[in-house]
């Protein structure tokens, strides 16, 4: 079981994290793309009365838990069977398959497992249908997760899994330095690092995901919100050169300049940073909760077993804010039997499935109730903190050209953190790019 937990932890992180360039066969795209010209999308004609067999396309079921759910559903719904279509593990590959499928207007996929950052693109292109809020357990879900499934005030998906980052601290080292509590702010954290690393034992301070990939967008979104701003305001206008954004980015830059964050953090993705912390090379780590199981592993792979305390991510100003990750379920605009599909995603959002998924895969789910569950509290002592992290979570930009936007954010943040550009210049350049991208 523990090894399958491994697999899923990694997968969920990938699903939450990576949205990069994806390899599509160009010629093939050309063929299918032509057929979509002039199409108005099938979004307008969603018929939620139609019933029958459907398919469910989502990333590979590495744990087998999904299969249990489907077996249960299929036993009770012999005329409305759900068939699982397993897609590649990589989020990029899943996205390109969904897009190819939508452009061919194929009804091969009914229910789609969408990464939270794809909602805007799929909704704007009308590849998925608007969902009736009254027929889904939306009120049972954490509001921040519902926000990730919403585009222009309409619901296009049902939150299923979610995620929020946490701060993992070496409580043994903190205690030696005279601190009982993990730091709440970057200033406090930097101060502790100064003390802990003073004896020059070779240990590094703070690690997070600072390589040039989706994880960096997550980091910047979090610190900017914590500093009191947003990369995009409520009207969808970019605010990347606001004072809050500058303060957020500069706080991280200071960490690099003063070596509180090691230079090698520029190569850290989730796994690299987890490995460094697990090998005892970091005092603090910001990461998704899946890492906790690995730190507590009994097989000797972890040097930090029972030495880790878990808290909210450090704040720039105000409260520590993490990016919300996760997976939502949407219904393809080109599918048949949408009535069955709607019932099925409601079933996946029901308390029983939500709890089983979290408990068996270690992957947090969207329902509020699971965070009060005694079984889960026992397994994850930091459950309250995690709920707090998701509640306060920052949603990554909900823009149609998310691929371009996240890339621009990564360029700007990486350039600044690696010392090539200064904060003000990096962010005013970013503001210019984001303005271009949203105006077009």
């Amino acid at each position: 079981m523990s090894s399958s937990n491994h697999g899923l932890g990694r997968r969920s992180v990938l699903a939450a994290g990576g949205l990069g360039a994806s390899a599509l066969g160009l010629a093939a795209c050309g063929g299918s793309d032509d057929s979509s010209s002039g199409g108005s999308g099938g979004g307008a004609s969603a018929d939620f009365d139609e019933r029958g067999p459907i398919t469910f396309a989502t990333g590979k079921d590495t744990t087998g838990v999904l299969k249990d759910f489907l077996d249960r559903w299929n036993k009770d719904h012999s005329d409305e069977k759900v068939t699982l279509v397993e897609l590649p593990e990589s989020a990029d590959d899943q996205r390109s398959q969904f897009i190819n499928n939508a452009q061919a207007k194929s009804d091969a996929y009914t229910v789609l497992g969408l990464d939270v950052v794809w909602t805007a693109e799929f909704a704007a292109n009308q590849w998925v249908v608007e969902l009736p809020k009254d027929k889904l357990p939306i009120d049972d879900m954490i509001p921040a997760t519902v926000q990730t499934a919403t585009y222009f005030d309409k619901l296009y998906a049902m939150p299923y899994a979610t995620n929020g980052q946490l701060l993992f601290s070496r409580k043994d080292l903190l205690k030696d330095a005279g601190y009982d509590e993990p730091p709440a702010t970057y200033d406090e954290m930097y101060e502790i690092i100064e003390k802990v690393t003073a004896d020059d034992s070779g240990i590094n301070g703070f690690g997070g995901q600072f390589a040039k990939y989706e994880g960096l967008t997550c980091q910047l979104t979090g610190v900017v919100k914590s500093a009191g701003g947003e990369l995009f305001d409520k009207d969808g206008k970019p605010q990347a050169d606001s004072d809050a954004a500058k303060l957020g980015l500069q706080t991280l830059r200071d960490g690099f300049d003063k070596k509180y964050i090691p230079k090698e953090a520029l190569t850290y993705k989730e796994e690299e940073s987890r490995q460094a912390f697990q090998d005892g090379k970091l005092v603090f780590l910001q990461n998704w909760p899946y890492v906790y199981d690995k730190f507590q592993a009994d097989d000797g792979s972890s040097k930090v077993k029972d030495k880790v305390s878990v808290s909210l991510v450090p704040a720039v100003k105000g409260e520590g804010t993490s990016t919300v990750g996760g997976l939502n379920y949407a219904i393809s605009a080109f599918a048949k039997n949408m009535g069955t599909a709607l019932d099925f995603i409601a079933f996946m959002g029901a308390a029983e499935q939500q709890k089983a998924w979290f408990l068996q895969t270690g992957n947090p789910t969207a329902a509020t109730a699971v965070y009060e569950d005694e079984d889960l509290k026992e397994k994850y002592p930091f459950l309250d903190t995690l709920k707090d992290s998701i509640d306060k979570g920052a949603v990554r930009p909900q823009v149609v050209k998310y691929g371009d936007v996240t890339q621009a954010i990564q360029e700007a943040a990486y350039g600044c953190l690696s010392g090539d550009t200064e904060t003000d210049a990096a962010l005013s350049d970013l503001q210019k790019q984001l303005t271009d991208l949203t105006e077009k």
Partner: protein
Amino acid sequence: MADPHSRRVTGGQGRMAYLLLLPTLVLLALVVGFPLVLSAWQSLTQSGGDIDPETGIIKQGDTFVGLDNYVEAFTGSGAGAGFWNAFWNTTLFTVVGVSIETVLGVSMALIMARAMRSTGIVRASILVPWAIPTVVSALMWQLIFDANGIFNRVIHYQVLWTTEGWQAKAAVLIADIWKTAPYIGLLTLAGLQTIDDQVYEAAKMDGADRWDTFWRITLPLVRPVLVVAVLFRLLDAMRMFDLPYVLLGRLESGQTLSMLASDAAGKTNYGLASAYSMILFAYICLVAFVFIRVLGADVIGEQNKPARRGGRRRGDGNDGADDGSGGSRRTARRLRTTAEGSMA
């Protein structure tokens, strides 16, 4: 290309020949011509329209935009460092990578040919890096080039290989050379083994030292094979994608032209993606053309098809042009004749 043959056939035979070739031509048109034309057309269009400010919905459909995509491809930076960065990266990886691979590959072949003329196991094991899928080897090198990885431990210095800069380019080159030098090595080895021992014996009798033997016998005789191997590697390296994509992800330092195309396609900007593809296609065609013209790569085995004489005449001409001193020219020509004779 086919002129000596076609001139010989008469009208009726010609028609029959075309008839027999027809299925192949149709197939080629279908799998090569059609996608190419479609890509070219698509590079002149743009998919997707404006976003409705009320509903946030995109107007669907392709519009013809002329050469706009090409203008954007050459001048736009967008997110990322743009076309010229990718162009120079591609060129650097190709020129530096293939040069080093060729030198290494030939050296490997010479060593293998000398030491173990017929040990299949050694030859097979040399090919292992080549046989490993690129993505797998890229993941492996990612571990090696980790900030706390083996490479840094061996050199006792922390180089952050997967950060922006020259070190990222070096990482790609090292991984690529490791993987593909054996390919050139093996093809060259096959070429070396067709050279008769007698040629070397004759050279020894004539008093040629090792250096002379290599430059005047080994290299000219292995050249046809080597040139084709290098050409294939060139074309391969120019469309490099998977290695930098997996090893470096989104770093500008490793971005190649193929990655730009894939990146644009990933953003559903198919027009721009097709434009990048067409530019890369043109670049590859140009390099292949120049290479074949300058080095006379015999890709389709022309040299071996007609009677020996044609090939030899061409070979002799080259020798005469290449050689400086009269004495050694004579030696080379004599050796050459012996080689041809013994192979026939």
